[in-house]
């Protein structure tokens, strides 16, 4: 109803910017549904963060105890640093590779379709499959390190912080680069050929047209991909759980995994809720900053600039 009323009202101003715009009612069903199953539980988590609760009986309010304890918890503080390192490493390794692969896959070479189909299979694998597969592959005696001692030495990849973080970054790339490649492939295909022709006339080679034409045209895709990597990287713990269990010691315990540990190994739901809240707020803030700083939320097409 609201929609129709608004539609009529706005159409009385012909030529105005909001001609035939849909009312807010269009957004309501999805928002209510989402609010009920995601935002309400999140509010509940926010309340739990001020309680002490092991999942049994009634949560006991304990004020800001969980927050104070977390602020002093060395593992929590260390985990923030590890999270930053993992997210940054993820972005700097995955972004260039995804761009290169996406641009390449957008071309018209023979066999490209088959190759890119295979490349995207990791997208389809569940975490159970990835865990079993990679655990077998990184075994120091019988996996890949055992076959290539000149590269991996004694294969004790999970024995040092650098090794553990390296493994996490590599497997993370294996798992997620296909997805980001897909984003760039789509965007690269949509670049008007006329831009390349113009660059060629100006005497630009492959490398120069890549940097002068392709990269600027992929700007919006980079932002999308960046937001997904940031948010995904901040909140991901599956690979940590599966591959290093946060070790050696706590050297690869990122904040999301620390939350999982608190919640489902220690059943300290109060502290886990506080960590979850920190993560959700930080991730949302960062993605909002990215979206705002780049003007992405203005919802304007790159095409308009042409």
């Amino acid at each position: 109803m609201t929609t129709l009323a608004q539609g009529k009202r706005t159409s009385r101003r012909p030529g105005g910017p909001s001609v035939g715009r849909p009312g807010f009612a269009w957004a309501v069903p999805a928002t209510v549904f989402f609010g009920l199953f995601a935002i309400v539980p999140l509010v509940f988590v926010a309340i739990l963060s001020f309680t002490s609760w092991n999942g049994l009986g009634t949560p006991q309010f304990n004020g800001v105890d969980n927050w104070v304890a977390l602020a002093k918890d060395p593992v929590m503080i260390q985990s923030l640093g590890i999270t930053v390192v993992l997210v940054v490493l993820g972005i700097v390794t995955q972004t260039p590779l995804s761009i290169l692969l996406g641009v390449w896959a957008a071309g018209h070479q023979k066999n490209r379709a088959v190759l890119s189909a295979i490349c995207f299979v990791p997208l389809l694998l569940s975490s159970a499959a990835i865990s079993v597969l990679w655990r077998a592959l990184i075994d120091p005696n019988f996996g890949i390190p055992g076959e290539l001692p000149w590269l991996f030495g004694n294969g004790n990849l999970l024995g040092s912080q650098a090794g553990a973080i390296g493994v996490l970054t590599f497997v993370g790339g294996w798992q997620f680069i296909p997805f980001h490649t897909l984003i760039y492939q789509g965007a690269a295909r949509a670049i008007p050929p006329v831009l390349y022709q113009a660059a060629q006339i100006d005497g630009a080679g492959t490398v120069r047209s890549f940097f002068n034409v392709t990269i600027p045209q992929l700007r919006n895709s980079m932002i999308t991909s960046l937001v997904l990597m940031l948010v995904g990287g901040l909140t991901a713990f599956d690979t940590v759980l599966i591959l290093t269990a946060g070790g050696p010691g706590t050297a690869s315990t990122n904040t999301a995994y620390y939350m999982y540990q608190k919640a489902f190994l220690g059943f300290d739901f109060g502290t886990a809720s506080a960590i979850a809240l920190v993560l959700a707020v930080v991730a949302t803030t960062i993605s909002l900053v990215v979206v705002r700083a780049t003007g992405y939320d203005k919802m304007r097409s790159t095409q308009e600039g042409l």
């Binding site: 309340i47 999942g55 009634t58 949560p59 120091p140 024995g159």
Partner: protein, 437 residues
């Protein structure tokens, strides 16, 4: 526009507050509610979902043939068993009976008043207690009450070996710590990893502490520490035990890359099986693991022996460590306690014992001894049974004796001392910091 959005914001906020209020009151309805709220005509049994639950299914089917109230098995994916159980156990979706490991795995449920003490059942049928070996049965007793009936089998930790490797270097399974050290030196010189260790799983590392502490200080040290006497961890005996462990690590007993090896994905059993390692300290399930991977090796070349003694130590050489058993515990709110009691009686039946032995588990009932010859591997079953029967004490794995909340920090400390990140004082301090309730 703004008015509308303000209205919407208010409506959303109201919905959220309402829902949270309802959800919170849902949580606070502590306990699993009245018996009459529970499903009629069935008892739910939550069971660890894995390949072994075909026996549990068989027993449930047997029971259902004669019972009007039926047993329904809810198989929960193993790796996530505890997570699921903890979520549902205080709600009306709780199972009537559930699988557990005794000790710390049920302590918080006992504290929360969720579990039914089985004293009444035992008074009605004394065999529910007398049919089981006491060293096993007692791991599920707390504060003078019994909370669990043993099911599946016992899983003591033993020193496994590759007989071919031992024969090649003229080694017999060590009976003393000094022999073990000497064997390590011999094997290391020959370029073989003396002892396979799945350090990335962390719990295999813990087994070394459990045995060395027992042999050096006797079972009392750990029992006292768990009861609240934290000074035990800094005692002389504790320091001696840590020094012995260090000596073994420094002798190169575990090789250099054990941090990256796992038992659970087959890494460390394979080291032993292929002769790249000579020994492995592991739970009795190692036999079935090896058998699945290479039946001929398990039958011919897999050796097993008790943990060696340590000279001057207070522990008895027959002391065991490991998983004493799995248990069934009962929720207080169960609607059909008598049916539950009758179902539990099957855990000492001949049918149960035979079926468990056939799949390689070793039940700890008094009638087990009658059927040892029908076991999947009779020699192995007999050796294990005698080990448990003759044990002076049977220490429940530390990570299961302590409350769940302690397990992460304990594993980190155990792994940290092995890796050299913690010194003895650091390890003791970490153990002292563990919650005991």
């Amino acid at each position: 526009m703004n008015k509308r959005s303000a209205r919407l914001t208010r409506a959303l906020a109201a919905t959220a507050i309402l829902a949270v209020g309802v959800a919170l009151s849902g949580c606070s309805s502590s306990g699993a509610g009245a018996a009459s709220d529970r499903p009629a005509g069935v008892i739910h049994v939550a069971i660890y979902g894995d390949t072994a639950n075909k026996v549990e299914q068989q027993i449930a089917d047997t029971f259902n043939k004669t019972s009007k109230i039926k047993v329904v098995l809810d198989k929960i994916p193993g790796a996530n068993y505890q997570q699921k159980l903890q979520t549902i156990i205080s709600t009306k979706s709780a199972p009537d009976v559930f699988f557990n490991w005794g000790g710390g795995s049920i302590a918080q449920f006992v504290n929360a008043g969720l579990l039914l003490p089985l004293d009444g059942f035992i008074a009605q049928d004394p065999k529910l207690k007398s049919s089981f070996l006491p060293s096993v049965f007692n791991s599920a007793s707390m504060g003078g009450h019994d909370y669990g009936i043993p099911m599946r089998g016992t899983q003591p930790v033993m020193l496994f070996s590759n007989k071919q490797v031992l024969a090649k270097y003229n080694i017999t399974p060590p009976t003393t710590w000094d022999e073990l050290l000497a064997d390590v030196t011999t094997l290391k010189a020959a370029g073989i990893t003396p002892i396979a260790l799945g350090g990335a799983d962390q719990w295999p590392t813990l087994m070394w502490y459990e045995y060395v502490y027992d042999r050096v200080a006797g079972p009392q040290l750990f029992d006292k520490a768990l009861a609240g006497d934290k000074s035990q961890w800094t005692s002389d005996a504790s320091m001696t035990a840590l020094k012995d462990i260090k000596q073994l690590i420094d002798a190169g007993a575990f090789g250099t890359n054990f941090d990256s090896v796992k038992f659970t994905d087959g890494g460390s059993p394979k080291l032993l099986r292929t002769g790249k390692a000579a020994f492995e300290l592991m739970g009795s399930w190692n036999y079935s693991t090896q058998q699945a991977a290479d039946p001929a090796f398990a039958a011919k070349d897999l050796g097993y022996s008790a943990f060696p003694s340590i000279a001057g130590g207070a522990g008895n050489q027959t002391d065991l460590a490991g998983n004493t058993n799995n248990f069934y515990s009962v929720i207080k709110a169960t609607r059909y306690p008598n049916t539950v009691r009758d179902f539990l009686k099957l855990m000492y039946s001949d049918e149960f014992v035979k079926a468990q032995l056939a799949i390689g588990n070793l039940p700890t009932t008094t009638n087990t001894v009658n059927f040892l010859s029908t076991a999947a591997s009779p020699d192995y079953a007999t050796f294990q049974y005698n080990l448990v029967k003759d044990a002076n004490s049977f220490q429940l794995s530390w990570d299961q004796a302590y409350p769940q909340t302690a397990s992460t920090a304990m594993h980190t400390a155990v792994e940290g001392y092995f890796a050299g990140r913690l010194d003895a004082a650091g390890f003791a301090a970490a153990m002292q910091a563990l919650p005991i309730k």
